[in-house]
Amino acid sequence: MSAFRAILARDLRLALRQALDSLLVVAFFVIAVVLFPLGVGPEANVLSRMSSGVIWVAALLSVLLSMDRLFQADYEDGSLDLLALSPAALETVVIAKVLAHWLVTGLPLIIAAPVLAVLLNMPADGFGLLVLALLLGTPALNLIGALGAALVLGARRGGVLLALLILPLSVPVLIFGVGAVEAAISGYAARVPMLLLGAILAGSLALCPWGAAAALRQALE
């Protein structure tokens, strides 16, 4: 556990010293969403209709954009070798790194989401569930992204390959995330899509660190 704490603390400290890196992710998220009213036109009904989908797709792309560096720096400077030789399991290393990454990129994104929802004229009924659904969905996206980032480690054009790998795997998160917000807006119970989002998070928490650790071991060979 001390290794988990050490990696979490180190990655958070690194993120604070290089705060621009995490701000860029949020900035990308905001700009991507703001582009839609410009492209589709300022019609309130149209924007309102597509608001939840736009925010979720932009969140998905922002996560994707931020993931490819997750293990890259540690791989390039030799830290990953030493982490693999440490008493801590690589699975623990993966979970600690994903948690730190989510805290510095996922949380700011969730805080920005309601503001963007106002911009897109989303009905106020959806705000609460948008935040809750993102709280369940973005960690799952980060975990899936970590698996992809570990698989493409050391590959040329890793970023594009990463997108091809993890976008299809992210579709369920997108569907149930949008489903939960839409249900709340139309006055239905959002229980089922929220439960499914929770199940996806639990499943990815169990599977992704394990797969990512195996991929990291392969990358170090």
């Binding site: 180190r10 400077d77 030799g78 008493p87």
Partner: protein, 217 residues
């Protein structure tokens, strides 16, 4: 010093290494006893770094076996990792963190160690609060080598440790290696430059190059 550095016997038997489909070396045998030192020599690409990574357990041998006290290390990789300290080509220093923070991180990861003493061992105390990005290659190298002094380990695997080091630091490293061997530890060093290791065995990697005609793995 605890007693885990007091004994041990480190063996490689019939080791073969394949990298990217190419056989780098094969039929490599070596034995190190407590207090022993082994110097790996050979031209570029002869497999010195690969052999060290095999010994550390970062790579898996294509053939053969690595054993500690006659027990294959593949059977208990955790115990093997706990007894070794590996210093590779890359310095594993985060540019945004200070030397002390970098070293304290590695100490916490391996479950403890005396950061102050380790900094002192490589004369880094004065630089300890500098971010690693402002340091020279030699200073970063020293910071990486300082991990050796964090906690006692039975086996040091050093990949060209003297690169970029000044004469004074080489002497310090020599002294640390001598201390380790006096307490029964072992060291494997790949080097082009001369570290003054007394009574060290030399392993010439060229002796284990695959013979022509068997080169296809």
């Amino acid at each position: 010093m605890n007693d885990k550095t007091d004994k041990g016997r480190f063996d490689c038997r019939g080791l073969a290494c394949v990298r990217g489909g190419r056989r780098v070396f094969d039929r490599l045998n070596m034995t190190l006893k407590a207090g022993g030192a082994l110097v790996l020599r050979g031209p570029n690409g002869s497999g010195k770094s690969s052999l060290l990574r095999l010994m550390a357990g970062l790579l898996h041998p294509a053939e053969g076996q690595i054993a500690w006290d006659s027990a294959p290390v593949a059977d208990d990789p955790e115990a093997h990792r706990a007894r070794l300290c590996y210093v590779g080509h890359l310095d594993a220093q985060k540019p945004a963190l200070t030397l002390r923070e970098n070293l304290a991180f590695w100490a916490e990861i391996q479950g403890g160690g005396d950061v102050g003493r380790a900094l002192d061992a490589f004369a880094l105390t004065a630089l300890a609060d500098q971010p690693a990005r402002f340091l020279s290659a030699g200073q970063r190298r020293r910071a990486n080598l300082a991990r050796l002094a964090l906690a006692p380990r039975a086996l040091w695997l050093l990949d060209e440790p003297a690169t970029a080091l000044d004469q004074e630091t080489r002497l310090r490293l020599n002294a640390l290696i001598a201390d380790l061997r006096r307490t029964g530890g072992m060291v494997v060093v790949s080097t082009h430059e001369d570290l003054d290791l007394r009574e060290a065995h030399t392993l010439n990697m060229a002796d284990y190059a695959p013979r022509p005609g068997e080169a296809a793995a």
